[in-house]
Amino acid sequence: MIDIVSGIVFVLLFIVFVILGFYGSRWRRGDLSKLKEWGLAGSRLGTFLGWFLLGADIYTAYTFIAVPSSLFAKGAIYFFAAPYVIITYAFAMWAMPKFWNIANRRGYLTVADFVREIFNSRLLAVSVALVGIVAELPYIALQIVGMQAVLVAMLHGVGTTTTIIELSLIVSFIILAAFTWTSGLRGATLGALLKDALILVSVIAVVVAVLMIGGFHSAYVAASATSIHYFQLPSGLYNAYWSLFVFSALALYLYPHVVNGSLAQKNPKTVRTTASLLPLYSIGLGLLAMFGFMIYGVPAAMQYVKSFPASIQGTQVVPGLILTLLPNWLAGAAMLGIFIGGLVPAAIMAIAAANLFSRNIAKELKPNITPKGETKVAQVFAVVFKFLALGFVFIIPATYAIQLQLFGGILILQILPSFVFGLITRNLNRRALFLGLLAGVVSGMYIMLAANDYATWTTTLVSTGLGPVFIGMIALAINIVVVVVGTLIANAMKVTNQVPKAVLDSI
């Protein structure tokens, strides 16, 4: 499938990308040994760059590989990603400027910093940090799956499929680790610009190509002949659909890397404007998701996809369409766009997880750590977390990679009461918040295991009296009930959080 031209374009553009990454560490020079500089790009991004950085955070291998893949495998239900990446920004426009202001006033870099102070609880802060870190791991794993899918496509036919899949995984991982270490968030932002330009051009090119061959009609005919519901939801899945998109929307801005991306902007109004314009970015996601059924209209691409084992077929949908429909040079460029579309977000996520570890866990253990030491710890752990993330790659068949992100969502949703309710009220009991978090995480994980019959993970929906619904919603409901009941009990017993008055006044 691969030919010399697309291979050369791929490699050349990758070199351009690497140069941008290194230039990034010099760009708008700051002291990179400071955590705020390495991890938040010094909080100086305006609307334009902030939009691209958050775009890079949000439109990732999830968009390019996982969503089309699951739509291909399971049908219209996985188009929930489209409403998700619209309404999440309404939530962001409210929550993020509010948090930016408080964080700026009090010098917080993370959600855990905030929780620690307003609820006066180190236990809660460390738990919030841990959940944030663990939730990032499957999301990073999803990016690695995406990078791997690109390399598998580029190397298709060079050797045996198994060798290529394994080799691709190793190469993806090494490139990722090296990239993160060198340039922190700045390099990532510049890389995001290149990636988005490449992806946008190629997505439009593919859609136009499919339109020109009348592909939508033939896709409709061919896909309708399958047993999968591609063009509308079966009525039993309405509750699954809205619970997936509403709770994914609430989860997104709880992820450490997205919070970081917001704090990296220069002021709260920029944060709000940026968020309001991000649904435009989503159009690309909507079009890409449709690749999942469009492929039925392009027999050559379908044939290519079917040449892979079922466990990774879905991940080859987008590469397959690109390689069969686009001219070689553009296909090479598009493949690189998707590759760094996994690389950049994975780096951003690892940086965010490492920031949290260094600031809210290492510092609790060793309070007299120097700022230089703090950054070093973050750099080292950014690599460690990527290794841990690799473990998740093996839990879920690549075609169902979207479940990695959804599992991360189930976990990260559990910090919602501490963080989001914390933006509104200080009157929740810290122990109740901790127990709620624990109950949410444990129940979420248990239901996830049970819903998949304790075998390979292929779903994050669980059957209830209302039909299948997203597990994240149920776990969060359990969490909130515990928080509310616990707080009522604490109030009845006149137990308070004992937050120092000086702190309350300053917030």
Binding site: S43, M93, N104, D113, Y238, N267, R272, S276, P279, L280
Partner: protein, 84 residues
């Protein structure tokens, strides 16, 4: 006056949510657009529409809200480090 602005902002933010929660209203193949099922193009249409409504809300909101962090330069807004 200020209150009215916040009501307008809330309405602007909730319109896309309501339009997308009303799943039965758009869960159909017809009318198709260029061969694409209504289910798909309706939701994609809400992306630019959503951005437009949200952007209007954002302008209103930013205008109404007091400047709580006037200095944009990092040096001017160094938050006090609370943890040493």
């Amino acid at each position: 006056m200020v209150k009215a602005v916040y009501v307008a902002i809330a309405i602007l933010l909730f319109i896309p949510l309501i339009a997308l929660l009303a799943i039965p209203t758009y869960n159909s193949v017809n009318p198709t657009l260029g061969g694409v099922a209504f289910f798909y193009w309706y939701q994609i249409l809400w992306m630019p529409l959503g951005a437009l409504l949200y952007y209007i809300a954002s302008v209103l909101w930013n205008r109404t809200e007091k400047d709580s962090a006037p200095g944009n330069k990092p040096a001017a807004r160094r938050g006090r480090r609370t943890r040493r």
